[in-house]
């Protein structure tokens, strides 16, 4: 199965209902991370003359430490 098909399948199952860009990016990053077995990841999108940070995912950082930090 091609990766795209795999994602489309995943996209269909998980994302269809979500209409926001952020949700879609979350799913996309999560998917790419799982394919590459990456612990963390980010997505920036171009906006005018900048790269705007959109999402950050990190499996290792627990809820507890996140609460403590932010």
């Amino acid at each position: 199965m091609k990766l795209e098909d795999d994602y489309i399948h995943y996209y269909d199952m998980e994302i269809q209902e979500n209409s926001s860009l952020e949700e879609m990016l979350e799913s996309l990053l999560f998917y790419v991370r799982s394919i590459t077995r990456s612990d963390a990841g980010t997505i920036y999108l171009k906006e005018a003359n900048t790269l705007k940070f959109h999402i950050y995912q990190n499996d290792s950082v627990s809820d507890e430490s996140a609460k403590k930090t932010f």
Binding site: M24, T36, T42, N49, F53
Partner: protein
């Protein structure tokens, strides 16, 4: 697949939301370089690489207690236009014992995925734009609909107000008619008395007794007119409170009002109380019902020049009904009007005499007291029947 706590990711993302990296050829930030150079960049360990600035990442690491080592940064490039729309960064490839650099296989996979990811992002963008356009249009339509509804409501309110005004005018007209009807009698009595006064004066026959009688009579007529006016005013003011009253008492006080008139017209009255009947309502209004009926009888007597004039009242219970019968021997009601007699502006009297409002109002009053007024001819007269359920 790794399951990550969604909540955590949301919180982290929100915290970094404000971050914006300036796109510049000179920038040494990894994400910007990948975008500017349109190429995939792999770093094996950022803490071991001097070429790119990782201050941002290192700060985040510090804050959340994490250490980023290997990086795979890929620009998101549109297949057809070649435009770079963003950057996707993967951090720390996991192995069984820890983290490792990204492999050639990872590069290939991510390269494949990046153009697809670009497509999905652009697709979502345009979808969202379409959605917002549709939303805008919907809002416009909604606004339009709102305006139309508002306009309709405004028109309806205007119509309602006009109708209310019309019915008020009609009611006012009815009231004036009814007062005229009620006043015609005392006015004619007064004018007769005044004429009588002049003649008596010319004959020089005015004594104390005459003045007493004269003033009593006039006071009586004026009282009647005043009370008529007052009662009609209260009749058109529905806020007057209802209370229980006896029909027999209402009959008595009504007969008192017409006492002189009836003597003059040689009308005898009789009240037969088989069962006392009490009603809940406004007594003054009910008196008008009686007054209207007996005034009509009186007019009919005069029109037919009836002898042995008689009006009989009868109060009784009949099965589930309380009944008030008012019967006369004035010749009855012509068949061609009997069905319409309770309608407004229907009169049996000659031109200019009747207003056709009396019985209409009487029916109105009967209904207000939870009953119905009906009429039939019996022997040599008409029988008006007020019937109400227990």
């Amino acid at each position: 697949m790794t399951v990550f706590p969604m909540n955590l990711q949301k919180k982290l993302s929100d915290t970094f939301k404000t971050t914006r990296l300036e796109i510049s050829q000179k920038s040494k930030l990894l994400a910007v370089r990948a975008l500017v150079e349109s190429k995939l960049i792999v770093i094996d360990d950022i803490y071991d690489t001097p070429e790119h600035y990782f201050e941002g990442t290192k700060t985040i690491d510090k804050e959340i207690g994490y250490k980023s080592h290997s990086f795979l940064t890929v620009p998101l490039i549109h297949d057809q236009t070649g435009e770079a729309i963003g950057v996707l960064q993967l951090i720390n490839k996991r192995t069984r014992d820890g983290f490792s650099p990204y492999t050639l296989e990872d590069r290939k996979q991510v390269m494949n995925l990046s153009s697809f990811a670009t497509m999905v992002i652009l697709h979502t963008y345009s979808y969202l734009q379409k959605l917002s356009k549709i939303n805008n249009n919907l809002n416009l339509l909604n606004q339009d609909l709102h305006n139309q509804i508002d306009e309709e409501i405004r028109q309806n309110e205007l119509k309602d107000r006009q109708l209310l005004q019309q019915s008020k005018m009609a009611a006012m007209g009815e009231m004036v008619d009814a007062i005229a009807h009620q006043w015609s009698q005392p006015l004619s009595v007064i004018s007769t008395k005044v004429a009588d006064l002049e003649i008596t004066h010319q004959l020089d026959m005015i004594d104390n007794d005459y003045v007493d009688k004269f003033s009593d009579n006039l006071k009586h007529q004026i009282k009647h007119m005043t009370s008529t006016l007052g009662e009609f005013r209260s009749f058109f003011r529905p806020n007057k409170s209802s209370e229980a009253f006896l029909i027999s008492k209402a009959i008595e006080s009504t007969l008192f009002l017409v006492h002189d008139e009836f003597i003059k017209n040689e009308i005898k009255t009789e009240i037969k109380i088989i069962d006392e009947i009490s009603l809940i309502g406004i007594e003054n209004e009910f008196k008008h019902l009686i007054l209207n009926v007996i005034n009509n009888a009186k007019d009919a007597f005069n029109e037919h020049k009836t002898l042995n004039r008689e009006i009989k009242f009868k109060l009784y219970n009949d099965n589930n009904y309380k009944v008030l019968e008012i019967s006369d021997n004035a010749g009855g009601i012509p068949n061609h009007v009997i069905d319409d007699i309770f309608k407004a502006n229907v009169t049996t009297k000659g031109e200019g005499k009747g207003t056709g409002i009396g019985l209409y109002m009487s029916q109105h009053i009967a209904q207000k007291h939870g009953g119905q007024l009906s009429v039939h001819n019996y022997n040599n007269g008409a029988v008006f029947c007020f019937k109400t359920e227990y």
